[in-house]
Amino acid sequence: MTLDIVALAGIYGMYACGLTLVFGVLEVLNLAHAATFAFCTLLAMYLTTTQAWPLWQAALITVLAGAVVAIAIDRIAFWPLRRRGAVTAWGKHIGPLLSSLALATILLGVDQVAFGLDPRHFPDRVLPTATLHLGSGAIPLVSAVSTALFVVLVIALTAALRKTRWGLEVRAVAEQSTTAALFGVNGERRFIETMAVSGALAALAGLAYGLTFNIASPDTSSQLDVKGFALVVLGGLGSVPGSLVGATVIAAIEVSGAKWLPHGTEQLLVFGVLFLLLVVRPQGIFGTKIAAGAR
Amino acid sequence: MTSIFTATELSKRFGGVQAVVEASLSLRQGVVSGLLGPNGAGKSTLVDLLSGQQRSDSGEIVLDGRRLTSQPAYHFARLGVARTFQTSRLTNNLTVSQALQGVACSSRHVSAWGYILGARRTRKLYGDVKRDVISALQAVDLHKAARNYVRDLGWEQQRRLEIARALAMDCRVLLLDEPTAGMHAGSLPGFSALIRSIADRGVAVLLIEHNVAFMRATADELYAMDAGQMLLNGRVADVLSDSRVVSSYLGTARQ
């Protein structure tokens, strides 16, 4: 069972990491993240089936596509509002949230038109069948690799944010982009780069998801929409290491809940935990931005 | 003149910082009491405490014999304590008249259901509110801008709107937090006269200001504060020449 948790945590983790990164740096809850995730999974499936590409090629293109889509989301939905200093009665966080929602809907349309409404799969020749045997349990190689990759990415990203000049600039821009600009930091560049990373992470999560469960349809994003919030809130919105914690805990709840509780109850548990968390400790474990939250 | 608004030994701590230490003051009807102190002295925090926006850790606040300590902010407002904000808190997407009507109705807590059900007495009350809003606007010379959106107002107009908001509440106590910040010198005499006229109507005014000349012209008495503590109070001239006040503002002279 632990290995199931590990496998799921890898998928959730990469997804959560991308989402929390965007929130931390751009101060926006990107509601199109789930749609990007679904799009990438479908794209990879399409490329390997209809276009008969080898997996590595499809994966590469998919990750690139994820980054490109994310950048497009920024340019279309976030940047115009940033530029305007969107002043509305709702405050500056709600506008981008709503525009990302609009783009999510549009992406859904793209999915439907490009890939059809029916569920898609990876072709058998492409699916890795190797399993890793650890102790008494077994875990598909795909899952092991993706989770390991996730952990490496979290460490690398956290280190990059703390130790490198690039990371320093990203954090400066996250705090206060106008002041950062005064110090010569190219805020827009950093925002674009952050979005690209988050898109790539969504794509990786999508690939891992697709190769593990081998089914995806335009509907897939709706599963992860609200659950994604649970993932990021637990670790703290805006905290990269937090995404590791959040993903692991939620994965643990889901897997153990599915094992011990009546079918379906584990979903209830996840949302219940999310709600309780927000009531008791909205900033999560490593919470950084309470700006939009508790007063 | 008896004091109507008394604060005794108020304190406030934020984490490791003691922002206000056992500060006391009392305000009287018709009197403009100035409050002087360098930045960081705790003046704005004190105003937060006096208006109920923050709860004091200790001490008492009494208005007209009523104990206001630890009441929520809206209670202070309904009993007639009004304040202006140093950084203009604006209701940007409303028109000037909408903003003031909102303030006037809420502070008087006129019956909403009475209005909806068309009770004649309630409708008349709303009419009175209308009139008060108009006279508040006239007092600060903003009546021509009544239909403008608040975000379209100029800086000085916004400062005057802050005052109009307090007047629309029919306040008994007015706490002014650096109202002349950013105003150009030519408007100051008029502003001073405005504040004096408000006091003359029987309002107890607290005026926080850095502009000493303005303080001299407008205040009847002065309090001085530094590092969260009330240093002294008395006649304007006396306080301004006190050595402690001078050194807290200017630092001790190097020999």
């Binding site: 279309i76 809907t105 349309g109 949302f271 009531v279 | 809420s106 009544a146």
Partner: protein
């Protein structure tokens, strides 16, 4: 002419339901609360009516049960999340919506994922729209009264509102209860007009539809919500042929609204035509403009 616009009985019913749902969101959004729990309460209303009518009980009993559950639940929800705002409040209330959905799916007594069939089609377009008109009348008066003005102040700036004497906690509870009542009513209307309800309907997707209606129509005025609801419900009908492209349309309209006209249709009307705006922008009693003129200012 109406049929030319793709409007027939089911569409009229759909519009009415959408209008009431949109107004339920306006009740909280107009007070600046990003409380998106409405789909949950729509579910409560729909299931209350659905279960009672399929068990030989009169409709009004279902409606009352729906209200009896929604009101305390809404108040509880608000009080428990009172320290949250913005994004965090949205996520918390979204979690609530998902919880309601999951509870319905998992409870056998609520017929689970299969839904409830055979609810009487007891709602006619006329009665549906009478309900909409009644709700609008209430809002018209409410927004001009102290409560409406306080809602607007609360939306703009909490600190100013409190400093003006607004009891923000009580106002939040009030608006949430109003919202839940309307959502529950919309749920009852849904059940009675489509004769089949299932848990999928009361999801994040429903919320998106509601929010889009309010934002496109204009979030600053209650009638904006109604306009938005009518337009967004009619759109799929007008463009029957291009049904594949529906997500592009709804998404596209919302995007255009946020980027170009965040104040919505109502906002454009109010700002773009000052004279018309003054007439529609009603304030308590006589308009201030007339009062000023009378005083010869």
């Amino acid at each position: 002419m109406l049929s030319f616009l793709g409007v027939n009985d089911p569409v009229l019913l759909g519009m009415a339901v959408a209008a009431v749902s949109a107004l339920s969101f306006f009740a909280v959004f107009g007070a600046g609360q990003f409380n998106v729990s409405q789909p949950g309460f729509v579910a409560v209303g729909a299931y209350s009516v659905g279960l009672t009518t399929t068990n030989h009980m009169p409709i009004f009993v279902g409606v009352l049960i729906g209200l009896a559950i929604s009101l305390p639940l809404a108040a509880f929800l608000v009080l428990v999340t009172q320290r949250l705002s913005g994004v965090y409040l949205a996520i918390a209330t979204l979690a609530f919506v998902e919880l309601v959905q999951e509870i319905i799916i998992l409870t056998p007594a609520l017929k689970g994922p299969l839904g409830i069939y055979g609810i009487p089609l007891a709602l006619s377009p006329t009665s549906a729209w009478l309900i909409v008109v009644a709700v609008c009348l209430v809002f018209a008066q409410l927004m001009r009264s102290r409560i409406g003005l306080a809602m607007v102040l609360l939306r703009e700036d909490v600190i100013v509102a409190r400093g003006a004497g607004v009891n923000d906690r009580r106002l939040k509870v009030f608006t949430a209860c109003l919202s839940a009542t309307l959502a529950s009513a919309a749920g009852a209307m849904t059940a009675l007009s489509t004769s089949y309800i299932s848990p999928d309907e009361f999801s994040f997707a429903l919320l998106i539809a509601i929010m889009t209606a309010v934002i496109v129509g204009g979030s600053e005025r209650y009638w904006g919500a109604v306009i938005g609801a009518v337009i967004m419900t009619d759109l799929p009908e007008l463009t029957r042929a291009a049904s594949d492209y529906r997500p592009f349309m709804t998404g596209g309209i919302l995007l255009v609204a946020i980027l170009l006209a965040p104040e919505g249709i109502a906002g454009v009307v109010l700002r773009g035509r000052p004279r018309l705006a003054r007439r529609l922008n009603v304030s308590p009693g006589i308009t201030l403009a007339k009062a000023l003129r009378r005083q010869r200012v």
